[in-house]
Every structure is written in C-alpha cells, then in structure tokens.
C-alpha cells in the first residue's frame, strides 16, 4: 500500500522542488545533494535534530540564505517548474514564497501598517484597497475579531502569540503561493501554538505550506508529508503517517521513536 501512495504522489507536479541541492557555509557542507518535492496545497514538515540542515533548506526556498556571507549553493530550486535562482526575480520570489520566522518579528509600527507594508511594497497605494487587504489578511490569520478595534495600535503591544499570527497575516497580505514556517511556534505557549496549528490546517487549502519543526508531535498533527533530515542529508520523505509508523530507514525509525534528538 505504501508503494502505491508513493507512486500516486509522484504524478502531481510539485509546487516547489529542489534537485541535487548542495549548500556550503565556507568549508562546512550543510546540505548534501538534497532532492525533494513539495506538492501544492499540502503541508510538508521538515524534521530532524538541531543542525541537520532543515532550516537551511527552508531558507534556500526564498533565498534568505543569500544574506549569509560565505554561503554557496549548487543544484536547483524550482518554483512552478522555474529555476527560482535564475528565472525568478528575487523580490518576486520572496513575495510568492512567504516566510514566518521562529521569533515573531512584527515591525515597530501600527498593526495596520505592518500588514500594509507588503502590499505597499508591491505598488498598492489606494487606501480602500489596503483596507480590504488588511481585513482579509487578519481574518485569514484568525485575528480580525481580536484586533479590528486596535488597528492603529503599535504591533509590539500584542502578546507573543498574537504577534506571530500578525506575522502570518502580514505574510498572507502579499498573496503568496507558498508559506514557509521556520519553527514558528517554538517561542510560543501551548495555547498560541494550538491556534497556529489550527490556522495551518485552514491555510493549506489556499497555500502550499512548508514548515520546519523540532516538535515531532506537531509534525504528526499538522503535516501531510514529512521529510527527515540528518547531518545535511535528506534521509527519508513520505506521507506523515507512514514516515512515523513504518519508516523505511533505520535512522528515521530511531529518531521518530525518540532514541536521539
């Protein structure tokens, strides 16, 4: 049965994929010929112990690794079949592939301006258009009812969980196609985490979501597919239930059973 599922997945053309991706920080090789597909409208979780390269891979997908001095990449990242490094403008890429960081990072400005920043960047100036986008984005992030009366307030006055959902709303405001989440609940309390997990479940209908998590339970709860990384290698990739219950690789089995971490 497992075989059949693997087969059926390969047919749908992936939203994003990486081919033979190698990444070096100076002399250190952080990713070793990674091949991976990210199907559209699914949640893909990247798991593995600290330093395994999962966050590094995520940052390749929207070229945030460009900021790291001494970072070198070989191989290809595809977005809708286009080479994300050569055929797509980097700012367009980052608009289409949004990112939510580990630490909530709202800008020190009003809630409204936080969300309007992205749309304004991409040329939307009309107040009424922005009003609509702000409301839609906050609704998508399940924040509208909480915040609709305080849009002029400074975003830094919100709680950590609200700040993170605001960051999700801010990312959604530029109408991305893919949403990258880099351990986006790691700094939050359990209730805020549950809210964001629920949100991810709702968002996958409209977006392709790729999340890095060190929390295996979270990967199990939220994701459709999971990829397991170890020391820069992608060890195993499969439907989440199968990867956790019947992994093919011994290393995966010992990691998901909690033998090391």
């Amino acid at each position: 049965m497992a075989k059949l599922e693997y087969h059926s997945e390969q047919k749908a053309s992936p939203k994003m994929s990486v081919k033979d991706l190698n990444l070096y920080y100076k002399d250190f090789q952080a990713l070793k010929s990674v091949n991976l597909d990210f199907p559209a409208h699914q949640v893909t979780a990247l798991i593995g112990p600290s330093g395994c390269g999962k966050s590094t891979l995520l940052k390749c997908l929207n070229r945030m690794n460009d900021l790291v001095a001494g970072c070198q990449i070989t191989g290809t990242v595809f977005l809708d079949g286009q080479d994300a490094y050569k055929e797509v403008n980097v700012n367009d890429l980052r608009r289409r592939v949004g990112m939510v960081f580990q630490q909530p990072n709202p800008f020190p400005m009003s809630i409204y301006d936080n969300i309007a920043f992205g749309p304004r960047t991409h040329g939307i100036k009309s107040r009424s258009d922005l009003d609509v986008i702000v409301e839609q984005s906050l609704r998508s992030a399940a924040l509208w009812d909480e915040l609709k009366d305080r849009l002029k307030k400074n975003a830094l006055s919100l709680s950590g969980g609200q700040q993170q959902r605001l960051c999700i709303a801010r990312a959604l405001a530029v109408k991305p196609e893919v949403l990258l989440m880099d351990e986006s609940t790691a700094a939050l309390d359990p209730i805020s985490t549950a809210k964001i997990e629920e949100l991810v479940g709702e968002l996958k209908d409209s977006y392709t979501i790729i999340m890095v998590t060190h929390n295996m339970l979270q990967a199990r709860r939220v994701s459709d597919r999971t990829a397991f990384f170890l020391l820069g290698e992608m060890v195993e990739m499969g439907p989440t239930e199968i990867l956790f219950s019947r992994p093919r690789e011994k290393r995966t089995a010992s990691y998901v059973s909690g033998e090391f971490g």
Partner: protein
C-alpha cells in the same frame, strides 16, 4: 582583610570616584550662578537677554546679538552637518561593504580627535579665503562658521546615528526582505523608522556640540556684535564673546561675561532635557 571590609572599601572607592564628577558639575554650577546672578540682577534680566547693544566701555550689556549669533551658527551647522552625518551613518551601517567601512570608520573617528584649534586654522586658511574670493564680504562670516562647525559635528552625529541604526534588530530587516521588499525599501521604510529616536538623539547631541564650540568659531566668524542680515556677514556667538573679552574684563563686565556663560549653560541644560525626554519616550 575580611571580605566584608574589602567590599566596603571597594564601594567607598567607586562612590568617591562617582562623586568627583558630580561634584565638578555642582561646583561649576555654583561658580556660574554665584558670579553671574549678581551681574544679571545689576543689569536687569530683560535688558541683558534682549538688549541689542554690547558696549562694556559705556556699561551697556545686551547679549541678544550673541544669542541670535549662537542660534544662527548652530542652525547653519545643522543644515550642513545633519543631512551629511545621517546619510553617512546610514551608508556605513547598511550600504557600505566591509572594505570601505574599514577605511571610513577610522576616518570618522579621526575627525573627532582633531583639536578644534586645528579646525579653526583650516577654516582660516582655506574656508575664509575661499569665501572672500568667490563670494561677497571679507570671508569671516556666518557661512564660514557654519561650514566649519558642520564638519566638526559630523563625528558626533555619525557615531551616535550609526549605533542607533546598528542596534535595530536584524529580524526587522529580514522580515521586510521576506515580504519581497528590496534592500533600499527595507532599510528606509523599516530600519530607519525603528531607529528614529536614536537618530534624533544624534542630532541633538550635534546641536549641543555646535552651540558649545568656541575656538574654531572665534577664528572664522568675524566676531562683530551684530545680528547678521546675510550669511556673508560676521557674527559673534556667546562662547566667542566670553573668550574674546575674559582676558581683560573686570567688575560688572566680568560678571556679564559669566552671566553669558549662565545663559549658555541653560541652553545646554534644555538640550540635555530634550535628549532625556526622547530617550524616555523611546523606552515605552
């Protein structure tokens, strides 16, 4: 020696050294006010502050032209130094590559280390003759003082502004980039607004530096007691007034000069107050 005694000794030593600087400020205050206030009372505060004639030989002490002179020269220095300083700080903090910054930064620091009399000499030999040959007037002017002071406040403005910009969390910048904003937009629309209170502090410190500067200004400003009607006319600042006449002043004349110091002190006090206000507001 018991540990307790050691601790007490250390605390006493640190307390003493801290007290020295406080004591210095207190003594300066005391000196200024003890010597300045009687003269002020003698001349009359309104006559002193708003009188436009300064003729010590006839016993007329009005420092209004000097107050205006200090304000004009400071404003001129701001016009020259603030845009240059802020943009340099922005460049050093966010645009310059490591190699260029490696040269620029020590250069800026060196600028801060040049004695003001050397600045004055530079102004005297280069700026004043340049203005004399290419513009109206004899060169000793508000313009010369403003240009020179504008350069002199650069290190203050640049270093304070740059540390304010450098202190903006990296996550703001990365957050903006991740939304598809380019480097310029991320810096100008997110990083700069986040640093705005520090940038204001840099400007205010620049004002403080400019208003208190004496030597370089005396050398290039012409020092006529007048309210200048153009930037090519000479001007005398409060600091220049004090240093030019202190050597031979006696009695009420001397008191009037010290009272000028009191006025200057009040200006600096207001600037410091403003600075603290901004700092406190940014902490909320």
């Amino acid at each position: 020696m018991s540990a307790k005694f050691k601790e007490k000794l250390a605390s006493a030593l640190f307390g003493f050294t801290a007290a020295v600087s406080i004591l210095a400020v207190a003594l300066i205050c005391l000196f200024l006010f003890l010597n300045g206030v009687p003269a002020l009372a003698d001349i009359g505060l309104p006559e002193f502050l708003f009188g436009s004639t300064w003729q010590p030989s006839s016993g007329i002490y009005g420092i209004f032209p000097m107050i205006v002179g200090s304000i004009y020269v400071t404003a001129g220095a701001m016009i020259v130094g603030v845009p240059t300083g802020l943009l340099t700080a922005l460049y050093l903090s966010r645009f310059a590559n490591a190699k260029i910054a490696q040269f620029l930064k020590p250069g800026v620091e060196l600028l801060a280390g040049i004695p003001s009399v050397v600045y004055g000499f530079f102004g005297l030999m280069i700026i004043v003759p340049f203005i004399r040959t290419s513009m109206p007037g004899n060169g000793f002017s508000l313009l010369a003082a403003s240009l020179l002071l504008g350069v002199m406040i650069l290190p203050t403005v640049i270093t304070v502004a740059q540390s304010a910009l450098d202190a903006v969390p990296r996550s703001y910048y990365e957050g903006a980039l991740a939304l598809g904003a380019d480097h310029e937009r991320s810096v100008l629309q997110v990083v700069v607004p986040a640093a705005v209170s520090g940038l204001m502090a840099s400007v205010i410190l620049g004002v403080g530096r400019a208003i208190g500067e004496t030597m370089a200004v005396v050398m290039v400003a012409g020092n006529q007691v007048q309210i200048p009607t153009s930037i090519f006319e000479g001007v005398r600042t409060m600091t220049a007034n004090i240093v030019l006449e202190m050597g031979y002043a006696a009695d009420l004349h001397r008191g009037a000069l010290i009272a000028t110091g009191v006025v200057l002190f009040v200006f600096i006090l207001l600037i410091t107050l403003l600075l603290n206000l901004i700092k406190r507001r940014s902490e909320i």
